[in-house]
């Protein structure tokens, strides 16, 4: 009876190749993809007007279709919070908990194979590919701490690792697996050519906002000002959008950078205090923080007006709205660029 494997499909080339290598050995492969809330491309393209004509395909779905496998996308936003907030193995260069993330995802895949009676798990990991999560020393850590142990097969570098259960039991011919190491993409590109894959996403890893320095600065700022390392899905969505400017401890402005972002942020008018320029074309700004007093409101309006078409005008009219209610008109002189201090801008 043929064996069944679950492949972690990120949408990148490596997991695509790993799955195809196992499919070629007669194993039935199905894919799972995890949604953490920190994924990059789909959101940015959906929001920004200048990106609206870019290809908006979900790469994991696209890869599954190329492989001819079924794919489940699993929402792990809530459970993933603990990985981001308390990573046992710490962070990478930014707030990326890559090793804990991999352990968590393989652990979730283990639950999946037990629930749905699959035989083993495949990942596209390559020894030496990633400085934190894909090193020779961390490969056994992922297998052990996820609980997957020798049910975890890495087809692209399997020959450099101890044989797993599928290899020892003869479900898989180890000789047909690979021994890729290092950061070069040439072996993967050669294998892609051999398989006839001519169109594929760039290497995995760049798909998570937590690896981005600017994003991590904004997330850390959010935690600092709330006094707690917690977040909701809307929080991490909003960190991907607009200019984030914190002129003082009381509030932060999220100012749209273009029309698509204005449309997106306008959807939050009932959840935030908002400011919108009306005398000149300009952005909407969300105010995150305390209820603004008169002085803070003038400051917030002057900053927002700075990013409108009226930036050089003597006076700009803006509408302030408190959670969609009590709208009031404000007139301010836009703040000169040099008065917006560098340390106000979160980036």
């Amino acid at each position: 009876m043929s064996k069944k494997a679950v492949a972690l499909i990120s949408g990148g080339l490596d997991s695509m190749l790993a799955a195809r290598l196992i499919q070629q050995q007669g194993v039935q492969v199905e894919g799972i993809n995890f949604y953490t809330g920190f994924c990059v491309e789909g959101h940015t393209h959906a929001i920004r007007k200048q990106d609206r004509n870019k290809n908006k395909r979900n790469n994991a779905l696209w890869v599954a279709e190329q492989l001819g496998i079924k794919l489940q996308i699993i929402d792990i936003v809530e459970e993933y919070k603990d990985v981001v907030i308390n990573p046992k193995h710490g962070y990478g260069a930014n707030l990326n908990p890559c090793l804990d993330c991999k352990i968590f995802m393989v652990g979730k895949a283990l639950e999946w194979i037990k629930d749905f009676e699959y035989d083993f798990i495949i990942t596209g990991e390559v020894i030496g590919q990633r400085p934190m999560s894909q090193r020779k020393a961390t490969m056994p850590v992922v297998a052990r701490e996820s609980g997957a142990d020798d049910l975890l097969l890495r087809p692209l570098c399997a020959k450099n690792l101890a044989p797993t259960l599928p290899e020892r039991e003869g479900w898989i011919d180890r000789e047909k697996l690979m021994s890729i190491t290092g950061r070069s993409r040439k072996p993967q590109m050669a294998l892609a050519k051999e398989f006839g894959f001519v169109d594929y996403a760039q290497p995995a890893g760049g798909c998570c906002f937590l690896t981005d320095k600017s994003y991590s600065v904004k997330l850390q700022d959010l935690w600092n000002h709330r006094g707690t390392r917690k977040y909701e899905l809307d929080d991490i969505m909003l960190l991907k959008v607009g200019r984030h400017i914190r002129p003082n401890q009381a509030f932060k402005l999220i100012i749209a950078r273009e029309e698509g972002e204005t449309n997106f942020l306008s959807g939050y008018q009932r959840e935030f205090q908002t400011i919108k320029t009306v005398s000149h074309a300009g952005p909407i700004a969300l105010v995150e923080g305390e209820q603004l007093d008169a002085q803070q409101l003038e400051l917030a309006c002057a900053i927002t007006a700075r990013f409108s078409q009226g930036r050089d005008a003597d006076s700009v009219e803006l509408l302030f709205s408190d959670h969609g209610q009590n709208t009031q008109s404000i007139h301010v002189k836009p703040m000169p660029a040099e008065q917006i201090k560098a340390d106000w801008v979160l980036a």
Binding site: A46, N58, A60, L71
Partner: protein, 77 residues
């Protein structure tokens, strides 16, 4: 013909609409129909692709202004 289950995925960004549809269909019987309304243009690619991959039938796709509506029938398998 069975009733249509309505799903509101407006304002949700991909892949959340796909996840909502997937989780809803998982609870339905074969042949059940679900209509999902979305605003993320990415769903124009993702929902048809997800249906093809998982053998569900996309019965209708209707776009009006910024809203996209998909009528999907769960596979008979």
């Amino acid at each position: 013909m069975s009733e249509v289950t309505e799903l509101d995925a407006r304002r949700l960004l991909c892949p959340m609409p796909v996840i909502r549809l997937q989780d809803c269909l998982r609870k339905q019987a074969s042949g059940a129909r679900v209509r999902i309304t979305c605003t993320d243009p990415g769903t124009m690619n993702d929902i048809p692709a997800w249906c093809r991959i998982n053998d569900h039938t996309l019965l209708e796709c209707d776009q009006q202004d910024h809203q996209i509506s998909f009528l999907v029938q769960k596979s008979q398998v």
